[in-house]
Symmetry: D3
Subunit: 236 residues, 6 copies
């Protein structure tokens, strides 16, 4: 399956489904803790392009730091590939911003898929008004220089307590963001689509009054049969 097909599938499934499938494979820590969507209804699927911040230092991180054309935050915004997701390691510190609406707009123009940060975002309502989705620890006005020194592009990082390696697939929805290890994205996508098909059947069953036990998971002998019939009726 092509990467594009995988991403297209992943964009249709929920982070709840994905965390369950990763848990089945032994992964317990894939959900970016504390990263909330800036607005409802956003969907995201794309490879991680990472930016690491360490704590800032007064002599290195004055306002003039942004004048350096090699400043990693600005370079990241200009070099992130189309379709990629900027994932920022802010050490979970939301007392300042990790980016603002001008940079986010530039990223949207360049075709980035979205922003994920365990820090804050400034001009958050401006970013929320973009088409490109964003998840973060909350709106926060102060410039990142007050707490953060942008250091590395595309090194492995921690974000919201989760290991994120460049190229891992970030998928986001209203619940938050999950990080899928790159080598598993294809098989997880296939399984997720099938699992959600079955859950649509389950939800219909529940809505017409069927009890959970035996249905979800389908341990009762006839559940699988009814599901096959449901599939055969083309209701998926």
């Amino acid at each position: 399956m092509s990467d594009d097909a995988t991403l297209a599938m992943l964009k249709t499934v929920s982070t709840a489904t994905l965390t369950s499938l990763l848990f089945k494979r032994g992964f317990r820590n894939v959900f970016i803790q504390g990263a909330r969507p800036l607005k409802a209804g956003q969907r995201l699927a794309g490879p991680a392009y990472t930016l690491r911040y360490i704590p800032s230092r007064e002599d290195l991180d004055g306002i003039e730091a942004f004048r350096d054309p090699r400043h990693p935050q600005r370079v990241a915004v200009e070099e992130i590939p189309p379709g990629a997701v900027l994932v920022m390691d802010c050490r979970g510190d939301a007392s300042v911003a990790s980016a603002g609406s001008i940079l986010a707009t530039r990223m949207q123009v360049r075709g980035a898929a979205g922003i994920v940060s365990d820090g804050g975002l400034r001009d958050a309502s401006g970013i929320a008004a973009l088409e490109m989705p964003a998840w973060c620890a909350g709106p926060s006005a102060p410039t990142n220089l007050i707490r953060h020194h942008a250091l590395d592009i595309n090194a492995p990082i921690g974000c919201g307590g989760v290991p994120v390696y460049p190229g891992d697939i970030m998928v986001g929805d209203d619940d938050g963001v999950v990080c899928i290890p790159a080598h598993l994205a294809g098989e997880i996508a296939v399984d997720a689509v099938e699992m959600e098909r079955f859950e649509r059947f389950v939800l219909e069953e529940v809505q017409r009054g069927v009890a959970i036990i035996g249905l979800y998971p389908p341990t009762a002998p006839d559940t699988r049969e009814r599901y096959q019939a449901w599939l055969a009726r083309g209701q998926a």
Copy 2:
């Protein structure tokens, strides 16, 4: 007064009013800390039906745990009485979900009054779309098995730092959820309705320019008189 009448009254009053009335009776810790509504405008009143989670253990809480027909979370969903509120003790850990939209839908079908959790909920926008209201520490996608082992049904628990005994009356609104000790629900309901009647008068007074001091509480001699007149005019 019947229980139904009590619940009907409690559904019309605010948690702010209820916590004040309980404070007057010496109760300082009745507001479920950290449980926020999944959507605005929800109202809840019903007896607590509790589910206790302890930390999960890898050998007991694999994905196959849900295949056990006696799994307490699933049993709770199938046995919660109509009109009752599922209150979950997640030890305040919102890093994973305590339930998702399929179980919530089943609960709605079965007539449950609502969900209160000091942990997360997954498929949170799906749950928010139900008529049955829910309060929790926030959306969180990962399956509960990663952190939680469902253990007890209808044992006394802590939820959001508050003691909740089965049968206590849970009342929720946009501010959050209060737990009223069962034996006090009737008298609190009566007092709350009266207190809110007075507060509607107070608010009208304030809107027409009356000062707070002497009015709220009504220490000025004429406040009670004006209130009686207001009542007599049938404006409550």
Copy 3:
């Protein structure tokens, strides 16, 4: 420049802009941490009128405390000058409210500019429905007496980790609230308006595809020229 002109200018600029300008002058800690707007789209600019809470004590802070006509919370509501912002020091404790909708309504009637608290607010949806804006650590139903003893009016306080001196200028938007030291408000307002004018130019440039580096900050030789031309075209 008059104070009114300063406030009018500050009401049009963002807290992101203001924190950057204060950072340039050496101020790193001016953003009220944890104070979120009760609703989207609010704007605030006004001098701080402070109320300090210390932890409550059972024998001093019973429900009857509000009967005292000198209770500082009630006095504050009646004495806050028109146009001023009530800033409350709750030691970051959001487990109870610092005010509710009746007091907030009274403040609106009296012409107060808004409420900023690092504690909770009760009847939060009622307060959100007012025209007067409010920022706080979140909705919280319990009465302030459970945790807070109102002590001082218009003493210097900490709020959300920030020093707030009476008369400092509080400016709020969707990101949160910034506290501008009083003596800097005028010059900051002027700089902020100019900075946002330049950022509108930058945003247009970005939207038409210009790269960030060299543009923002304007280190490329021609950026300033293009900006002058943009200004000359009257597009600010």
Copy 4:
């Protein structure tokens, strides 16, 4: 009873005893949370002399601030009465110091009874080597100016989440520090001495094999008799 006699009694009893006696009178929040002794075996009893810090501001709290002869921290050290306890409100922030060994030595020379802080102390091993005892949130080297602005002397404060009014009696031991409201100190001291006398009896009973139930509290009919006999034997 004289104040000196009260203090002498309080210096012999434990904070465990005192918190229980205050709880019996309805006080639930009298133990300074997070204030640990700098060394084992310290005892403290004396009236509170308070110092309030608010967050520092860069333009007011440079290193030269200490050159002001009216700097409240330095004034407090020079004006604290003999026998009094310096209680500092650091908003629970232990990332910096609230005092160091030079000031502590000066306080000892002036006859102060001790130091209680919910912030840090620097040169902590130097302070621990003094005879004057100290309790704090932990050793912390940075100067208070980085986070704290000394503002008020002898105003009511919060310390470790507890209300402390000037003149309240601070009592400390290895468990920590309790704040006794001033008007209760005398009666609490008397009760505490009696309670500890009884507990010495209980401990002897337990050491010789008597069960807790019926003994502590003394609900069994003969416990009080045995205690009277124990008292008569002069073993208290």
Copy 5:
């Protein structure tokens, strides 16, 4: 192997060793977070006897609650079997005590092996002076009634974030306390003794200048040979 032999072996090995062996078997969450020893050099090994606290409620948990001969905390102290460890679930709240020195002394008299709590302990220096060891979140004077309601004896609990089932084997040292699932204690004990024997060899090697890589773990071909020779020399 008898249970006594298992416990005797476990009392000689470190919690570091045990957590590694449990990790090899897939257990990641067995170390009681935040439970520190009251004094250095303590060792503990014994089966868990649990006590669960929920948040207290003012009408149920007054000082007279201890007069009830069925009060679970007091019953636990009188019924804990010799050799067992009292493990208390305080929801990680160390603002109050979970027990004090009189109860601890009674437990020692009755032959209990030790105390583990994720809450506080009062009269902590008195408890530290006992032979029976104790681990907790720190000294804390206030009576448990202020925050805790003792509810269940010997139900499964969480303690310091770890699931503890009655009969699980608690092992403690200067690092803290590990909870070994009961069915694994025997095999873990055997492996631990062997692992520590090897680590004594490793430490000697390191002390005489051997590099870590190839030695620990013993991936170099000759490490195992040298270890066998060391064993043959009887130096274990």
Copy 6:
């Protein structure tokens, strides 16, 4: 001045002194928050050699990870230069260890100056028994693999909220650890020695009854004179 002379001087001065001198130069964030000494009386001065951990991932960080001869933690232990300080970035997570006594012993044999971690250390009493000093967030038994993946050697990191660049000078005492930017170490060392000389004079003055104001800082005209006389008497 040679680097060795600088380090020798820094080893004699306190972290309190150093943080004050760095604050004078505009550095507010140089004290490793939460890193406590494993035993009293330790002193440390040496250049930082850093190790960065990110969150672990189950498929990469099994127990067999240590068999890789290139595992960064093991490589760090073998390659840290004599006199250097191993500084570990554990994201402040003390729920597991960042190293244990075998690795620490190897580091001591190799001549390392010490260990600084914002995570835990296992076999902490074993490490405390070494001559090489260590500071960390506390003893913690579990293996680092449970939470940490060792990634980078000698990259800039955050430790305890402080930026640490390889080669920065780490100085530790009973209060904790300060990180001096490398280029400032020489001048800071000289100033610190002078400042502590003056403070010894101040302490003697205080001990003989001189008041703080005018003495510390020496704003009174005669303080400097008395200091010169004290120096002349050779009492420094």
